[in-house]
């Protein structure tokens, strides 16, 4: 009995011993894995589970003055196929499982992707894990492709820049390349505002390849791009572009530009060009029209400069409203050259307003030719000529204004009526802004702000220059009003109910081979309204219109744009008559 009792107890002891040994070994290994090698094992394990992912930042939008979106970032999709995996696809149709052959699927894909079936079939019949079927399809197409649920089709989502208004303000906005890199215009100039900074996150993945919730760890948060708000009014910009495109077409001009400026603030409301680039597909536009001619092209302005010369003459007290000039139609200079008016006429007894009214080259030369050239040069600098504007637009031209000491006798006189110097349309328009704004030239503002996360990152730092006295500016406007009221363009520029001041320009263009002036002109009309208290400056210039020998071709577009501006901003009609100043004397 005692021996029988002892046997199970021994067995139990042995089992307990074995179990203890197992537990001991397991415990030992446990300590080894959990404590001694814990860090190494964790590292290996984490490396297997960990996935790093770039958190893509989004490029900011470009907005017009009213918040209308001119550029924004959306997604486009590359549709790809893994040819090695291509095979029949099973699909449930009304509860019935049917098999679709590769040919059937190719037909479906071709229909959605707007491709030939043979093209699709060729792509899916290849070898390897990757072949592109179609690049940059839109979301609607992507959704249709996804709904087909084809296991061997995979899609890459890519950021894409969309310009919802197409070529509206395309000359200003510029464009980006297919990878989103800015190539031109404000897209490029304000890239630091618009571009975001990509972030990075890590997360752990399960055996099934799924992201484990709560494992995500943001190493670097993405910084979204800022929104750039412009001063441009896109509706008005569109209207002006329409008018200019119409003018270019009907007059067979090389190009046309138009500007609308708010005189008191210096904000650019319209900076239109025709032709201009559609940033959605810049390749459709010839290279020379993908830029912004308003900032980048300079030209000899011609007679629009006479308003500036008149202001200088008044401000230097070389002239007043009653100054008497006898203007012949030609003027022989001591060195043999002549200055001619654009039309033959008997000697006219003109005041400065009369000189502007008939745009007499001889008259303006007699009026201001005696003013010291250095003084005039400094005035021209103050009016903004000879240097790029404060906007410093990409590739902006400074124009061409040689120092007064470099002017020869002829240049000294031709600069009075806009020859012998070159200006950009933006410079010329802002010289008129100075006159409209009581003699103070403001730096142009094109970009109102850069807003990132609700905070204004940048606001314009606008400078101003007192160019001429307030009374000078007022008198100059009054004189320019006579151009519209009584001049040859009166019927083409006048807007019923409003007082308009302005000046024509018909500028000869230097032949490219330097052989003198050619037979094509840059015709322009620069003006402001309402003349009693100018609120808006409108500038129009057509370059090389066919058959134009005067500025008549520019007055129509000016009138259309100015009318629309007055309507758009609800400017009440004028209630006072124009100033009583003479244009001729007896």
């Amino acid at each position: 009995m005692g021996a029988h009792d002892a046997q199970p107890r021994n067995r139990l002891r042995i089992i307990a011993l074995i179990l203890s040994a197992i537990v001991g070994i397991v415990g030992f290994r446990l300590v080894e894995f959990q404590v001694v090698q814990a860090d190494d094992i964790n590292e290996i394990s984490y490396a297997k589970r960990e996935v790093q992912r770039t958190l893509e930042s989004q490029r900011g939008s470009i907005l017009d003055a009213n918040g209308e979106v001119l550029a924004r970032t959306i997604y486009r999709y590359d549709i790809n196929v893994a040819p090695d995996m291509v095979g029949p696809v099973f699909r449930d149709v009304e509860g019935v499982r049917i098999e679709l052959s590769v040919g059937d699927i190719a037909s479906e894909l071709a229909l959605i992707l707007d491709m030939d079936v043979s093209e699709v079939f060729q792509a899916v019949s290849g070898e390897g894990n990757y072949a592109n079927l179609k690049k940059r399809v839109n979301a609607a197409v992507y959704q249709q492709i996804e709904s087909l649920n084809i296991p061997w089709i995979f899609v890459d989502e890519l950021s894409y820049r969309l310009y919802p208004s197409g070529a509206v303000a395309g000359n200003l906005i510029g464009f980006v390349d297919i990878d989103g890199y800015p190539l031109a215009g404000l897209e490029r100039q304000y890239n630091t505002c618009l571009a975001g900074v990509d972030g990075q996150e890590t997360f752990e993945r399960s055996v099934q390849g799924m992201k484990i919730p709560s494992s995500a760890q943001t190493i670097k948060p993405p910084v979204q791009g800022g929104d750039l708000q412009l001063t441009i009014d896109s509706d008005l910009q569109y209207f002006a572009q329409q008018v200019l495109a119409d003018a270019v077409q009907s007059q067979n001009a090389e190009y046309a530009v138009g500007l609308v400026i708010e005189a008191e603030t210096g904000r650019i409301l319209v900076a239109a060009e025709a032709p201009t680039v559609d940033p959605n597909d810049p390749s459709l536009t010839p290279a020379e029209h993908r830029q912004s001619k308003i900032f980048q092209n300079s030209y000899e302005p011609g007679s629009t400069m006479k308003s500036i010369t008149t202001a200088i003459a008044i401000d230097t007290q070389s002239a007043n409203a009653y100054t008497q000039i006898i203007a012949e139609d030609t003027m022989r200079l001591p060195w043999g050259d002549t200055i001619d008016d654009s039309f033959n006429h008997d000697p006219r007894k003109l005041t400065p307003a009369g000189i502007l009214k008939i745009s007499s080259n001889v008259g303006i030369t007699k009026l201001a030719g005696e003013i010291d050239r250095q003084t005039r040069y400094e005035y021209l600098l103050d009016f903004g000529f000879g240097s790029p504007t404060a906007i410093n637009f990409e590739g902006e031209s400074p124009g061409l204004l040689r120092e007064a000491s470099e002017w020869d006798g002829m240049t000294n006189l031709t600069t009075l009526f806009g020859q012998g110097l070159a200006v950009t349309p933006i410079q010329m328009a802002y010289s008129y802004q100075a006159i409209a704004n009581d003699g103070v030239r403001l730096d142009p503002i094109l970009v109102e702000s850069c807003i990132r996360d609700g905070e204004e990152m940048m606001t314009p730092n606008q400078g101003s220059t007192r160019v001429v006295d307030e009374s000078t500016a007022r008198l100059t406007v009054d004189m320019m009003e006579k151009v519209v009221e009584e001049g040859g363009v009166a019927s083409r520029v006048a807007i019923p109910g409003y007082r308009i001041a302005g000046k024509t320009g018909t500028a000869q263009i230097q032949a490219e081979d330097g052989s003198g002036y050619g037979d094509r002109f840059a015709i322009s009309f620069f003006g402001m309204a309402p003349a009693e208290n100018p609120e808006y400056v409108v500038a129009v210039m057509l370059y090389k219109p066919e058959g134009a020998i005067n500025s008549a071709g520019a007055t129509g577009p000016f009138k259309s744009i100015m009318s629309q501006v007055l309507r758009h901003y609800r400017v009440p009609p004028s209630t006072t008559p124009s100033a009583s100043i003479p244009t001729e004397w007896e």
């Binding site: 979106v69 839109n138 969309l162 992201k211 569109y238 959605n280 459709l284 019923p496 609800r570």
Partner: protein, 157 residues
């Protein structure tokens, strides 16, 4: 009644089983949460795609190019001679003239390219069913006359 030794064996065994069952449940809950998260994420992506499709359509329909084309096809003409009324003085500024639909007075149809336009206004729905486009104006009473009886004011409220 169980013997203490059996109890000694059963308690850890059941304990272990309970831990395993709990772990399984936890694991299932986690997996189900992950699946739910994935489904919701897919749904969110789907909705984002819908938003993108619709916003691109809105972009196209509200683009100046589409509106100009639609306005032209509908025969709309901008009033080139707006007039202003000073309500204080009852005075009219400008000369009121009817908007005349003369080809020479209007700029051409849309001349500004926009390759981003994916849809355009379906004019057939606008012309066949006015309710879809511009609502028929509702006259709220008779003509409104200013106190001075000089200018009939707009019946618009």
């Amino acid at each position: 009644m169980l013997r203490p030794k059996a109890l000694l064996l059963l308690v850890p065994t059941f304990g272990l089983a309970a831990v395993l069952v709990l772990q399984l449940m936890l694991s299932n809950a986690l997996a189900s949460g992950a699946h739910e998260l994935r489904d919701l994420k897919n749904e969110s992506e789907q909705l984002n795609t819908d938003v993108q499709i619709l916003s691109e359509e809105v972009d196209s329909l509200s683009s100046q190019q589409n509106l100009a084309d639609a306005a032209k096809q509908l025969g709309m003409v901008a009033n080139a001679n707006p007039v202003f009324i000073n309500l204080d003085s009852d005075r009219v500024y400008g000369e009121p003239q009817p908007a005349v639909s003369e080809e020479k007075l209007r700029v051409s149809g849309n001349l500004i390219s926009n390759t981003a336009m994916s849809v355009s206004t379906d004019l057939s729905t606008l012309t066949q069913n006015p309710a879809v486009g511009v609502a028929t104006p509702e006259i709220l009473g008779g003509e409104v006359i200013l106190s001075s009886a000089m200018i009939p004011a707009s019946p618009t409220r």
